[in-house]
């Protein structure tokens, strides 16, 4: 990194977050804080059944004007998120159910009243007549012939099937080791602290809908919403104020946004809908539910020869806009090989439709499940060849001398030293010491050690997404940089900061280029009326793409500043440069603020050939290669397993991660910690079960178990910094990685503890119940009591 920066606010510095002043003092403004004159509240009537024919909706007598059904939404189109992948079956998600209901919680009608309580009173009085149909609640059942069909006009319940073919017969014949596992991850509910929420207002003067919504992709919502409402895009303005966490849950175009947008225009006064926890848990999009039948072949040294997998993703009832129902499963097919080399790879995937809410990519997208699958099977290879799991991994990881590396599915790993990363985390966790403690623990509480390693594609662009053919394809990322007359810098970006600290890190980037005091740099985002188009915040792309765009815009602005400054210093432009917030030529210098004042207020002093564009530029950026950055990390966990109670505790947790050049290492640590907390949730706590009728069974936070402060151990984080050769400062996307490693590391640790007892848990989350069930299945006398003593 050829960056010289002395102020302590530039790239690589642990700058305290600018936005925290308002967050920590309770001065943030979220959708729920917005109060508009004449605003009314919405409450939705939601389907009580998972699958059925919607025969009738009867409005509350006397309140017909305050209740709306699909028939009332004139000109509104359903939400459609197609994929261009061959064979994809489209679905149409209505804003309010029409003809059929396909999951519990699907919106059927909306009620409007001055208060939410009154709107809920109205909702209770709406009578819904549904002829119930058998529900499809399991993804493997959904694929079976004769299963009830979620979409009647389909021939089966599969959104998309993909195949990566390979002839494995020769490998099968010579493999010394063949291991196979059937693994499953639970359906989860993404649970940002702030749920979804919408305040919609129709601006008569501008003929424009202003929709305040808690989203991580305002411009994409604008495009999708305009389409559903039949409006021109300039008639829609999306404003995302402070957003209290996203993780993918806010990368969705919601039926509620469509309904609120329609009603604000139709009724002529603002309307508001604030999602409550029950709607979030029981009605809206879910994530993560995968099923793997995975086989690996290896030689006698544990060297991977091939992986063969049949993977199913429970995509739920609808293809969610914009990521579609198939991104998750199709991604499984392309990223399952992980950071490993192998001779052959075969994988078949299904995106199964079921009578559950649609699923969307959650932090790490398919990788948390994929990492769990491949890392579980690698542990089985290690057990089969009698080696430490990390040793087998070291034998199979892509070595640094082969970087950049094109793997078996043509993923282009940009840079890194994967084996060194693993060795560092192995040293941190102190394997010999853990093995000693493990040998000493002979009572009911056993010790286990688990490791996982993965690499993560981030900030991938056009060439990758064009192939998916989903409603959005990221291209150039743009930023606006402009000086104010008093020398402040405004940076405008189309991405959304929903907790990542981008108001700080993008200011660090701007400061790096222009040297303007970071206190005078204001990063504006979250308003389609103020910012350049962007696909938004997802895929760990912001620091790479928006960071690159801000740097580019600031460089272009610097050139304008330099030319004016040189004129004011009376030197030729090539003898001046912008440095430390000034235009400098030899001993002479003039502050950027003076240049700004000259452009805006004293134009008579400008050079005759000054750029008419002034001190405001919009610049676009893409990485020099758009196949993405590959950050990577190794995780190691030590757990105790109480074999009498089934309880798992994490005793120690170490991480070594490489996110390339870190713009703000403190913020990256925060991202890793938050991600690991969510990964621990995947591993041990979070699960939305459904009964055979498709009823969700964890509809409050007393039932849906989220990890809290007491479930997240002190994490030891070690950094490597291998620059990406393709990005502005060498930075890589790192926001999601923390959530990817823990399910694999924790599950491997639990199974390491159980292995001497002959038991294994193949399903997430690893609950006390499942641990005891595994011990029971292994015919282990529970609780170390004599056989048959406890359970008979």
């Amino acid at each position: 990194m050829d960056v010289i920066e002395a102020t302590g606010s530039g790239v690589g510095r642990r700058v305290p977050r600018k936005e925290d002043d308002r967050y920590l003092r309770g001065k943030g403004v979220f959708v729920g804080d917005i109060r508009l004159a004449g605003m009314q509240e919405l409450a939705f009537v939601r389907s009580p059944v998972a699958h059925g024919i919607l025969r009738a909706v009867r409005k509350a007598p006397g309140a017909e004007h305050a209740v709306f059904t699909a028939a009332d939404l004139a000109g509104v189109s359903p939400i459609v998120a197609n994929s261009g992948l061959p064979g994809f079956k489209p679905s149409a998600q209505p804003a309010l159910a029409e003809g059929k209901v396909r999951h519990v919680g699907e919106a059927i009608a909306v009620c409007i009243a001055p208060t939410r309580a009154a709107a809920e009173d109205l909702a209770e009085q709406v009578e819904v007549e549904i002829e119930e149909r058998p529900a499809v609640t399991d993804m493997l059942d959904a694929r079976r012939p004769g299963a009830p069909r979620v979409h009647d006009h389909w021939t089966d319940n599969v959104f998309l099937e993909t195949r990566t073919e390979a002839d494995l017969s020769a490998i099968r014949a010579r493999a010394a080791v063949t291991v196979r596992r059937h693994l499953r991850t639970a359906r989860q509910c993404m649970s940002p602290m702030e749920g979804r929420g919408v305040v919609a207002e129709w601006d008569r003067r501008l003929e424009q809908l202003a929709l305040h919504t808690s989203t991580q992709m305002p411009h994409i919502v604008r495009t999708g919403l305009a389409g559903c409402l039949g409006l021109k895009e300039d008639q829609v303005r999306i404003i995302a104020p402070d957003v209290g966490g996203g993780f993918g849950y806010k990368g969705i175009l919601l039926p509620e946004e469509v309904v609120a947008g329609f009603l604000a225009r139709h009724l002529g006064h603002p309307v508001r809908w604030i999602e409550d926890r029950r709607e979030q848990l029981a009605g809206n999009a879910n994530c993560r539910e995968h099923d793997y039948d995975i086989t690996a072949y290896a030689d006698a040294d544990g060297r991977l020869l091939a992986v063969d997998c049949q993977a199913t993703v429970d995509s739920g009832a609808y293809s969610i806009y914009p990521f579609s129902a198939c991104l998750e499963a199709a991604q499984v097919g392309s990223i399952l090989p992980g950071p490993y080399m192998m001779e052959a790879f075969r994988c078949q995937t299904w995106s199964a439709a079921t009578n559950k809410p649609g699923i969307v990519p959650y932090r790490g997208v398919a990788r948390a499940g994929v990492c769990y699958a491949i890392e579980s099977i690698v542990d089985d290879i290690a057990a089969a060849v009698g080696q430490e799991p990390y040793e087998v991994r070291l034998r199979n990881l892509v070595p640094p001398e082969r970087m950049p590396f094109d793997n078996i599915t043509n993923k282009h790993f940009d840079s890194g030293d994967y084996p060194a990363c693993l060795r560092r985390v192995v040293a941190a966790i102190d394997v010999p010491s853990v093995r000693r403690r493990q040998a000493e623990a002979t009572g009911p509480v056993r010790i286990g050690l688990g490791v996982s390693i993965f690499c993560e594609q981030a900030a991938h662009g056009t060439s990758v997404y064009y192939g998916w053919g989903i409603p959005m394809v990221p291209g150039y990322e743009q930023a606006v940089a402009r000086l104010t007359p008093d020398g402040g810098l405004e940076v405008r970006v189309g991405i959304q900061s929903h907790g990542q600290g981008l108001e700080t890190t993008l200011a660090q980037v701007a400061h790096q280029v222009l040297g303007v005091d970071i206190e005078r740099i204001r990063v504006l985002h979250g308003d389609t009326g103020m910012t350049p188009y962007s696909t938004g915040t997802w895929g760990s792309r912001c620091m790479v793409m928006a960071g690159g765009a801000v740097a580019t815009a600031c460089k272009d602005l610097a050139e304008r500043i330099r030319r004016i400054g040189a004129h004011l210093l009376q030197v030729p432009p090539d003898q001046a440069l912008v440095q430390g917030g000034c235009v400098v030529s030899g001993q002479a210098s003039i502050p950027v603020a003076d240049v700004a004042r000259t452009w805006y207020l004293r134009p008579q002093e400008l050079p005759p050939d000054v750029s008419a564009g002034g001190l405001e530029v919009t610049s676009g950026y893409r990485t020099t290669r758009d196949t993405g950055t590959f950050s990577y990390a190794a995780h190691a966990a030590v757990v105790s397993v109480d074999t009498e109670m089934g309880e798992v505790r994490i005793l120690d947790y170490a991480i070594c991660e490489d996110g390339g050049v870190l713009v703000n290492p403190m913020i990256v640590d925060g991202q890793v910690i938050g991600g690991v907390a969510q990964g621990i949730g995947t591993a041990l706590y979070e699960e939305m079960p459904f009964d055979a009728n498709g009823q969700p069974l964890a509809t409050t936070l007393a039932d849906y178990m989220l990890p809290g402060a007491t479930e997240v151990p002190m994490l030891r984080i070690d950094h490597m910094e291998t620059p990406s050769p393709y990005t502005e400062f060498g930075q890589k996307g790192i926001g999601e990685g923390g959530a990817i490693g823990p399910p694999a590391a924790v599950a491997n640790a639990v199974n390491d503890a159980l292995r001497p007892l002959g038991a294994r848990v193949d399903r997430l989350p690893i609950t006390p119940h499942r641990v005891l069930e595994a011990l029971l299945a292994a015919k282990i006398p529970l609780g170390n009591a004599p056989v048959g003593n406890v359970l008979t």
Binding site: T115, R116, A117, E120, D121, E124, D276, R277, R278, D642, E644, M645, G646, E647, Y685, T700, A702, M705, P707, G708, T710, E711, T767, P768, H769, L772, E773, L776, L782, G783, V790, L791
Partner: protein, 271 residues
């Protein structure tokens, strides 16, 4: 998730509260830590709520040589903080500090917890093991009802229309008594999925298993085989029964070694 309409009555005397409870579909609210979420989910829809948390007749605590009496409005936090009389070894404080989270302990009351009779709650099991009783006030005056009989089942107690619990009376175990309490939760503060309390005090050998989906199970003796047999009828699956048996075994071990209260998640069993 907003409550349906109800009328809130805030009496200042017990007599006024009892009068208010005569209204149709009237219900008592004290700390509201269980009832308020049920109201918001519209699982509970009383027409009238009678707020009793601050009634002077339900406040305060007293003790005699043999008994501790806690006003029904005593919060878990007050007990955990040692602001009320306690049993030898600080049994009550140690139970109270393990109930849910501090914010809930600040408002939740011992009387409310008993009347709510959530099988996973601490007090029904603990107070049953301690041989406690409740003082019930009603239109006909006051009466005393012994635990565990007062707990009729999951979320059911033996209160007649118009009655409320005024106080909890807990006999003091002798100085040489032994006590053990163990509960298993997915997370500290969450609802327990296994729980057992054991009191050994002279001739009294009382074991209670809670969090079973119904009223706490009072064991006729302290053998593990008895516990196992009693759990056969609980409706729990083999894993659930296993956890209960182990909770009982651990509570018994604590009583045997005099190590007192403990919780499975986040706290050392034998602290």
């Amino acid at each position: 998730m907003k409550a349906a309409d109800f009328t809130l009555v805030r009496p200042t005397t017990l007599a006024d509260a009892l009068a208010a409870l005569r209204a149709p579909e009237a219900r008592v609210i004290a700390g509201g830590q269980s009832l308020a979420p049920m109201l918001n989910l519209r699982l509970a829809r009383p027409e009238t709520l009678v707020a009793v948390g601050t009634l002077p007749e339900l406040a305060g605590a007293s003790e005699t040589v043999e008994t501790i009496t806690l006003g029904a409005g005593t919060t878990h936090a007050a007990i955990a903080d040692g602001r009320t009389p306690d049993l030898p070894g600080g049994i009550l404080a140690r139970v109270a500090e393990g109930i849910a989270y501090r914010a809930i302990r600040n408002r939740g009351t011992i009387g409310g917890s008993l009347c709510h009779a959530d099988p996973a709650a601490d007090w029904p099991t603990v107070l049953s093991a301690l041989g406690a009783s409740v003082v019930v006030a009603g239109p006909a005056g006051t009466r005393t009802a012994a635990l565990p009989g007062f707990i009729a089942g999951a979320f059911r107690v033996a209160l007649d229309k118009g009655e409320l619990v005024q106080a909890v009376r807990i006999p003091k175990p002798s100085a040489g008594s032994r006590w053990g309490y163990y509960k298993a939760c997915r997370k500290p503060g969450e609802f327990a999925h296994a729980m057992a309390a054991v009191l050994i005090d002279g001739a009294v050998r009382r074991g209670v298993i809670g969090a079973v989906g119904g009223a706490p199970i009072l064991l006729p003796d302290l053998s593990e085989a008895t516990a196992r047999t009693a759990l056969e009828a609980s409706g729990l699956d083999p894993m659930g029964r296993q956890m209960q048996v182990v909770a009982f075994r651990r509570a018994l071990a604590m009583a045997g070694t005099g190590t007192g209260a403990g919780a499975g998640a986040g706290a050392e069993a034998g602290r």
